[in-house]
């Protein structure tokens, strides 16, 4: 990773694209502090967060998803969302308190599940969900935190055509009032969804701009789509 200069405007859906190994996930890991940055600075809402811990960033509203579906497989669907809601109660270290104290969260958890179309699956063990539904659940769990900035790592990866359409509609719906940074391979998704696109190649920014501009950039065509000019 080498001199990446990336700014994401509040309220926009911003895509990060590039060929395999371009460093897209690395950028995510750096931003969310899952990897330490050796130099440079990361600012979030105008504050320097280069040294913050990952969990701290999440508490400040910057929540990421993962490339491989990140659910809690042996918890029920409802419990998955509840884990995200639970932190706000402030009792997460209370090992002496009954789990019944978590039941106040069920109504909100059901609302979140309904908003992504997972109603009726509340008591299903998450491991038994289809792949597309697992990714939807992951999105629901992220949403439950009401993040200001959502970082989605290939949300449509490995999905069939119908599921892709559903997830794109969902992302558009939940992006209202939030900022979304998204890593995506599927260019039609990117063209459809994102106002701004940053193209990475070999750890550098190759181009930046709206899809109409970026898609005509000769450097991008060469590096990304593989068409020589």
């Amino acid at each position: 990773m080498d001199s990446i200069d990336l700014s994401v405007r509040r309220g926009s859906i911003h895509a990060l694209i590039g060929p395999n190994g371009a460093g897209k996930t690395t950028v995510f890991n750096l931003l969310t502090r899952f990897l330490p940055a050796t130099s440079g600075a990361i600012t979030y809402n105008g504050e320097d967060v280069t040294k913050a811990r990952p969990a701290e960033l999440a508490r400040r509203g910057m929540v990421r998803s993962f490339q491989i579906s990140a659910v809690f497989p042996n918890l029920t669907v409802l419990e998955n969302v509840r884990v995200a809601l639970q932190r706000r109660l402030g009792t997460s270290f209370h090992f002496w308190r009954s789990q019944r104290s978590l039941e106040v969260l069920h109504e909100r958890a059901r609302e979140v599940l309904a908003s992504v179309g997972l109603e009726g699956f509340e008591t299903t063990l998450t491991a038994e969900l289809s792949y597309g539904r697992k990714r939807t659940l992951e999105l629901a769990t992220t949403l439950a935190l009401e993040p200001e900035l959502m970082l989605l790592d290939e949300p449509t990866q490995g999905m069939g055509h119908e599921d892709v359409g559903r997830v794109v509609a969902l992302i558009r719906k939940v992006s209202a009032g939030r900022t979304v940074l998204i890593v995506e391979h599927n260019l039609s998704v990117v063209a459809d969804l994102c106002q701004m696109i940053t193209v990475l190649a070999r750890g550098r920014v190759l181009a930046e701009g709206p899809y109409s501009e970026v898609s005509r950039d000769p450097a991008v065509l060469e590096a990304y789509i593989g068409v020589g000019t």
């Binding site: 969990a55 999440a58 419990e79 932190r87 997460s92 270290f93 789990q99 978590l102």
Partner: protein, 303 residues
């Protein structure tokens, strides 16, 4: 559910009249030890390979407090438990920086340090351990010299320790632990400082293991090197897997099985380890979820 617990309680109350009370007390101590271990392995996803340090060290502290300093037995047990929890805080805070096999190796390393400390310390009796620890009187009134009185005293402590374990896994904290076990990076990205949760789980587990060790010192009126030895750390893994990790009572059942096997096979000398090893392999191959885990899975699939 409730009737199941009632049946277990009745079994626990009747046990000293059915089997030799000291045997039953040994089972209770090790069942609590295995439950403490289960809190880490089954509910947090951490494999500690040094849990004998907490069991054994607490035994020595309790023995020393009751025998040499003349403390009442309850206070001695409390001191042993607290010492183990304190040790757990130090070990946990350092070991937690690594996960997986490195974590297991760091805990093993710590346990070896404790072993050599106990072996060479001036007060711990070296190879002989601490002998002649008096059982004392419960609440200063009831002598624990008799095995029946001692049994119910130990049973009450076991119930208290098990209740702490059971409540912990069914608490808001326990739910976060499960999430961490399932997917630690995701839990982190939801805003949980994973390490701090793991350290607290480690301390509770160490404390409960310590309570088990303190109880054991009172039961056998001694604290021995074998309870600090890494063999003990290994046998608790065996009990937990045999009974079913991540099930509330599985490890207790595992402890019962292992202690029974060791007892009935003790005539065969060192063949005991070979036979328990064989049983272990057979059980793990046949019941991947452990005995209780397998029963649970059958029952829930039939519904």
């Amino acid at each position: 559910m409730v009737s199941g617990w009632a049946a277990l309680l009745a079994l626990g109350l009747a046990a000293p009249f059915c089997v030799y009370p000291v045997f039953a007390m040994n089972v209770l101590c090790l069942a609590l030890f295995a439950s403490a271990f289960n809190l880490l392995l089954g509910y947090t996803g951490l494999l500690s390979f040094g849990h004998a340090a907490f069991l054994g060290m607490a035994g020595y502290v309790t023995g020393q407090a009751v025998k040499t300093w003349g403390w009442p037995v309850e206070l001695g047990i409390l001191a042993g438990t607290a010492a183990a929890a304190g040790l757990g805080l130090v070990f946990g805070a350092l070991a937690i920086r690594r996960s997986g096999i490195s974590f297991a190796m760091i805990t093993l390393g710590f346990a070896q340090i404790v072993y050599f400390f106990v072996l060479h310390a001036a007060w711990s009796g070296g190879e002989d351990g601490l002998q002649g620890v008096p059982r004392g009187k419960a609440l200063g009134l009831v002598s624990l010299q008799g095995n029946y009185a001692a049994y119910y005293f130990i049973f009450a402590l076991f119930l208290a320790g098990f209740a702490v374990f059971y409540r912990t896994i069914h608490s808001p904290f326990g739910h976060v632990l499960r999430a961490i076990r399932e997917n630690a990076p995701r839990a982190e990205s939801l805003g949980y400082d994973v390490d701090r949760y793991r350290v607290l789980a480690f301390v509770i587990s160490a404390g409960l293991a310590g309570l088990a060790g303190s109880m054991k010192a009172i039961v056998f009126q001694s604290a021995t090197l074998s309870d600090v030895h890494w063999h003990r750390s290994g046998s608790v893994v065996l009990m937990t897997l045999l009974g079913g990790m991540g099930t509330p009572i599985g490890p207790s059942v595992g402890a019962l099985l292992v202690v029974t096997l060791e007892n009935y096979l003790s005539g065969y000398g060192s063949w005991v380890t070979v036979i328990t090893g064989g049983v272990f392999i057979a059980c793990v191959l046949a019941f991947r979820r452990g005995l209780v885990g397998e029963i649970q899975a059958r029952v829930s699939s039939r519904r």
